[in-house]
Symmetry: C2
Subunit: 179 residues, 2 copies
DNA sequence: GTAGATAGTGATTGGCCACTAACTTTGTCG
DNA sequence: CGACAAAGTTAGTGGCCAATCACTATCTAC
């Protein structure tokens, strides 16, 4: 397998492992195992652990961005908001790790920033802004913030492990689709 | 100093350290240093690292809950929403670690859950629900979800290190206070 | 003053983990 | 064939870290 293909599979494996264990809580060994490759070989493909995390985070943002772009394609008005909500819902239904990876990215940036590393966050803010702008383009100034806010609440509720039948979810659905 | 007082100061120190470093990224040594006590002594006061994190998380929820209760006291209608928004804003202005600790709690629960530990999350969901119910009592069914959603977006934007003059914030303020 | 409890420390250990260095295997082309 | 490169491995290292054990100091009450 070519180095480029390997890098790709490492990033995919890293997304899963980092999503579940966090930056510090995931060993490069765990990623290597999932890829099916020896642990030291990761350091031939990437300069270090942080670089792998960074790529996985970027990929996570890109994937979400793409989902929003696709969902809003060719739609207008009320329909767009509904389609994008549904698209996000089905994204996290079929791959919950992208949601968790998002959360891990947020706290990783916060920790890096607290430790004095500005650069790490800079890259990820850029990735996040692409997603932001995709939503902005689809929904316009008025509804973008609100859409993202509800999205972030979803992230938190899922991360916290509230089951679908918990009252926080029934409250949530009544709020996004008032009768 | 009595053991109870020490436990209290450990929890306060832990909130700061865990907020910035996360669960895995914070050493018990760092907490002990901040308290001004030897590292092994922490294990006299708490059964283990996880127990310290759990207490710090609970404290973080309680503190937020209290802020919301106080802010809504004696107010009605439109005023309550505004007061609670302002209260949260001033909470995180004078102690940003509360916000970061929240985020660390979310991902820590997610990681524990992914590793098969249901119990850890159970306790923290209970703490979170107290905060939820404080908001529910103050704002009612209609606005609770929305208020929390915007709060979670604030958490994310702060964690990601977006500076106050960044356009995501101007977009945010326009959305919560439309002209 | 001494017995017991309470608060606290120093030294250590076993395990994990990111990363390095040196070596091997597998095409591939002249 | 033989040489070169690209893909990949085994073995090892230095550092950190949660948790334990055995010990010390201080106070209080009889």
């Amino acid at each position: 397998m070519s180095a480029e293909e390997r890098r790709e599979s490492v990033i995919r494996a890293a997304m899963i492992e980092f999503a579940r264990g966090g930056y510090k809580g995931t060993s490069t060994e765990a990623i290597a195992k999932r890829v099916g490759v020896s642990q030291p070989y990761l350091f031939r493909l990437f300069p270090g652990k942080q670089a792998i995390f960074l790529e996985a985070s970027r990929r996570c943002c890109e994937r979400t961005t793409e989902v929003f772009r696709k969902a809003s394609e060719g739609l207008q008005g009320e329909e767009v908001l509904h389609a994008m909500g549904a698209a996000y819902q089905s994204l996290i239904a079929d791959d919950p790790d992208v949601l968790l990876m998002q959360m891990q990215m947020y706290v990783a940036v916060a920790s890096a920033e607290a430790a004095g590393d500005r650069e790490f966050g800079e890259t990820l803010r850029a990735g996040w802004m692409e997603m932001y702008d995709a939503v902005l383009l689809a929904l316009g100034e008025g509804e973008t913030t609100q859409f993202l806010a509800f999205g972030m609440l979803v992230n938190v509720l899922v991360s916290m492990g509230f089951r679908p039948d918990h009252r926080v979810w029934t409250g949530f659905y009544e709020s996004v689709q008032p009768k």
